[in-house]
Symmetry: C2
Subunit: 589 residues, 2 copies
């Protein structure tokens, strides 16, 4: 038999093909993954490829219908279906190839001459000998195939057939991406055919009633009877509520959801999977698992389609979780040529520093100051919080929701301290000066705002709706110093590990609510972020949620997240002998 | 850094290794699968390899303790651990590497400098980054590891960790192999550390109460309410009974069993997995699945260790099942250089013909004659059955159990017809001659045994305990003709397909009870098997059970079974236009 050479781009492989074989045959024989949605009967027109002609032009043909009659150069155009994704702060072209896909096929009907088993027939029509499935599906397969006369929609992941639906149901395929925060759970309902966001829902993490922060949750899970089971059940129930809410909002049913992705810190990750978090809270802070988890929705009692899948993004370490991996994905830390610093500040500040070549991460215990906790008039970044402030000839502040101020949130606290440093009311050691010690002419204007409350010096920022004073205390300033000192020390140690100087950093990406609301100038004035970097700071929004969405919409992005989880080298700050000295040095303003 | 070359046999690969790397590091880095049971601390002495010295001698060293200081030639001796397996009729050297294995490891304990997650620590200590596991295991992992101070026994299959047991439990590891026959279920309890058979149990297939043969079972499953569920539940319960019985006999518990293998015909296979068998019974006889199934014991409610696995051997077609694949494995059909014919005769005669290069199979509907059903005085091959007979000057017969005869089983029927042909009482057309037509001088001696019963001519073979006559009728002879005609036609069509002549067959392997009890001379005299092959016939015992055992004890044998399932090309006799003519021709004696 005559043979021809087939060159395939972008793979850049060269194959031998027999004369008159179809391109479909050639692809299947050589293990080239390519979808033939209609089974290769020339109906769906989805298997288009481009053949490069001798005249340099490209001709579009169907791979299932085109026979090899000469040497060919082929461009596998099908794979280049790009999709434009817009998220808060992220604007990225991705290949829309979600973690779960649907393919409509028309199988050749069985005859005595072709009595292949149902499952073999299905795999061979798809040209995918590698596909696996569960016994459950095999139990239903003969009926599902015959219900619509061997026309069916196959629901599949990379390597597993999840379900077979009679007829053509390819127009209905949903997924949800979740960011499970310690405080808030956010869910995004996405149409996996278009990448479009259909609903956006959120709720308080119901575990909050057992403890506000990860440490108290870990304690509850480890020490209370059925503690782990309770916390696990709470988050599963809330996820199910959000699934129901989002699908209702969008006019769909949870049955249409075949995939969800989950990003969250390591403690949220463990509790979601009912994995004991006990060892996360004590040295040496060992997680149970960091690899990505692919679980069955049924196994975790998640009320989406019973054949659906749950994809949990990978962690890096006990205090650097899947939320950071998701943020690193959004920030594309794996492709940076220039030295980039990614920071997500919450109770812990998680930092990733590096380039596509090498990446380091650490977690610094910032304490709850930036979340408004343990601050005299602190509050979360909610309605009534002073979130920004400037002090010059006059003192201006803004309040979330434009209502009367009720307290101060993290970004407000940072601004206040930065401004008070600027006008000499706080000195470089963090001391809130007594009125008589203030020498700055502008600072002097605000002397009467310096008062004593329960024997602690304080600066009054504003008056609340009932005339109550809203202020920061000397102790608040110390809390902020501890917080920013820890983060600044973390940055310094990452730089040492990487072998670079702060001036080598070309970009600082801030993830999370606090990171997006803070004023870069204040972050740099207080020394939270090195001064040299002020112009390089950029907010990237709720990167954990955005990363979970990217991973859901694109297998390739999910794989990038997996690789990031493996690639980022974790630095345990508490194991560093140089940490204490650097931290102490960084306490100063 | 200095690099050396490492040549590895029997793989015949050459690697580059850095000076002072251990061989363990080299294997892990290059993805060479090799077990380090104690985690590479030099304790278990299981990682021995042979280094070929310049003087031509081999030196045995521990791969975990040996550093690369020069170019090396290494023989991976660990893999050659062979085991001698003896089964009825089969005597084979196999590599004892069961489908499920245990490895004892001592993990390095976590420190601040090494706070890898538990699961990562486990995989890396085993040198197996490719291992997967279930969320269930992760949920228990931290406790299991810490219970015995990070000394634990890992239970794993080729690519999945099934369980972690605290401490060293490597001495307890059992498996069971099952042959699920339409009539009888046989189970073998094996010690997977030694390959030794610890117990052998069997029971009537409890589905028998819903129908004696596969067709009636399929009808029941398809047409009765909850029919499939009932048949499925019956066989699962019986498997569980046999598990309990076998482990009790051997002084073990079902918890120690981590793997079972299942061989059975395609209908038994489907019912075991609760897969609808409906389409097996009607043209074009389509199974749902032929690929091997790896299921969780829990999923199928099999009461072995809850983390255990069930491996169901692959089928070939609707009437050529996993039992035939298992028999083909025992017969080593994949390695034959000489043309070999494998036959397993029951209600259907399943046949495989070929060499390692190409293999064909078919199934011929023999009907129940050889199982003693629909024969006037027929019975199963049980106590009281006439199983062999010779007629010369005198008539001799043997009875199973050496009791008074109660009836005739398949091998007895075959002998009777063969002998009556020899002495001219039956003619070449299968006619039982009236006494006056018998011309053979020996035949004439038995004239008075030819009688009429209900108007049908019969030959009296013996008298039963209460003086009742035991005989064969003209109708019985016709049944036998249909049965042997179908099988002989199947053999002829396989030969046509292969492109060979009957004289090219160099070996005939007979599997199953009937195959082992029949007298080759009678099989050939009646034309069940072509006359030319008489001297080449060999019984191979309960090959389905033996194959299930081989697959359980050796991953490689399981893989051979998988390959056989793919390689054997199925010929659908009912789709052959030449079948009827060949069958008609083969009815004659």
């Amino acid at each position: 038999m005559k043979k021809f050479s087939i060159k395939i781009y972008p793979e850049n492989v060269e194959l031998q093909a027999e004369e008159n074989a179809t391109l479909k045959d050639v692809f299947i024989e050589n293990g080239i993954k390519f979808d033939f949605p209609c089974g290769g009967v020339g109906k769906c027109k989805k298997c288009k490829v481009k053949i490069l002609k001798n005249n340099g032009l490209e001709e579009e043909v169907l791979a299932c219908q085109t026979k090899v009659e000469s040497d060919l150069v082929i461009n596998l155009q099908q794979r280049e279906q790009k999709h434009h994704i817009l998220n808060e702060g992220v604007n990225r072209q991705i290949e829309l190839k979600p973690l779960v896909r649907k393919i409509y096929v028309e199988l050749p009907k069985p005859t005595l001459e072709d009595n292949r088993p149902d499952w073999t027939r299905l795999k061979e029509t798809l040209g995918r000998a590698d596909l696996k499935t569960k016994v459950n599906l095999l139990q239903e397969l003969p009926e599902k195939l015959r219900e619509s006369d061997f026309k069916a929609t196959i629901v599949l992941t990379e390597d597993e057939v999840l379900a077979v639906e009679p007829g053509d149901t390819t127009d209905r395929l949903l997924g949800m991406a979740f960011d499970i925060g310690t405080t808030t759970v956010v869910g995004y309902l996405l149409d996996l055919n278009t990448g479009k966001e259909l609903a956006h829902v959120s709720a308080l993490n119901p575990q909050t009633k057992y403890g506000a922060d990860v440490i108290s949750r870990i304690t509850f899970a480890s020490q209370e009877k059925d503690g782990l089971e309770k916390l696990h059940q709470e988050i599963i129930n809330e996820i199910n509520n959000l699934v129901a809410k989002a699908t209702e909002q969008a006019g769909h049913t949870p049955q249409d959801i075949y995939a969800i992705t989950i990003a969250g810190n390591t403690t949220m990750h463990h509790l979601f999977l009912k994995i004991p978090p006990e060892n996360l809270a004590k040295a040496p802070y060992v997680p149970v698992v960091k690899e990505p988890i692919r679980a069955d929705a049924g196994e975790l009692k998640i009320n989406i389609n019973p054949a659906g899948k749950v994809f949990v993004l990978s962690n890096i370490a006990g205090f650097v979780g899947a939320d950071t991996v998701a943020a690193a994905l959004v920030a594309e830390m794996d492709q940076k040529e220039k030295l980039t610093l990614l920071i997500d500040i919450g109770t812990n500040g998680e930092m990733v520093l590096g380039t596509g070549e090498k990446l380091f991460a650490c977690s610094a215990a910032a304490g709850p100051a930036f979340e408004g906790a343990q601050i005299a008039c602190g509050m979360r970044g909610a309605e009534g919080a002073i979130d920004h402030l400037t002090i010059g000839e006059e003192l201006f502040y803004s309040v979330i929701g434009e209502v009367e101020p009720l307290g101060i949130c993290g970004s407000g606290l940072l601004d206040i301290v930065a401004e008070l440093l600027n006008i000499g009311i706080i000195d470089e050691n963090g001391r809130l000066l007594p009125p008589e010690k203030i020498s700055d002419p502008i600072g002097q204007r605000y002397r009467e705002r310096i008062i004593e409350i329960n024997g602690i010096r304080a600066f009054v920022v504003a008056n609340g709706p009932r005339g109550e004073k809203i202020y920061i205390t000397q102790k608040d300033i110390r809390e902020l110093q501890l917080a920013k000192g820890a983060i600044a020390a973390g940055i310094e140690i990452l730089l040492k590990e990487y072998g670079a100087d702060v001036k080598d950093i070309e970009e600082v990406q801030l993830a999370g609510a606090f990171g997006n609301y803070l004023k870069p100038r204040s972050a740099c004035r207080t020394g939270l972020i090195p001064r040299e970097l002020e112009a390089k700071i950029k907010g990237i929004g709720n990167a954990a949620g955005a990363g979970a969405k990217l991973a859901l919409l694109s297998e390739k992005e999910f794989q990038r997240a997996v690789s990031l989880g493996q690639k980022i080298k974790y630095i345990e700050l508490s194991a560093r002998s140089d940490f204490t000295a650097i931290f102490a040095h960084r306490l100063r303003f």
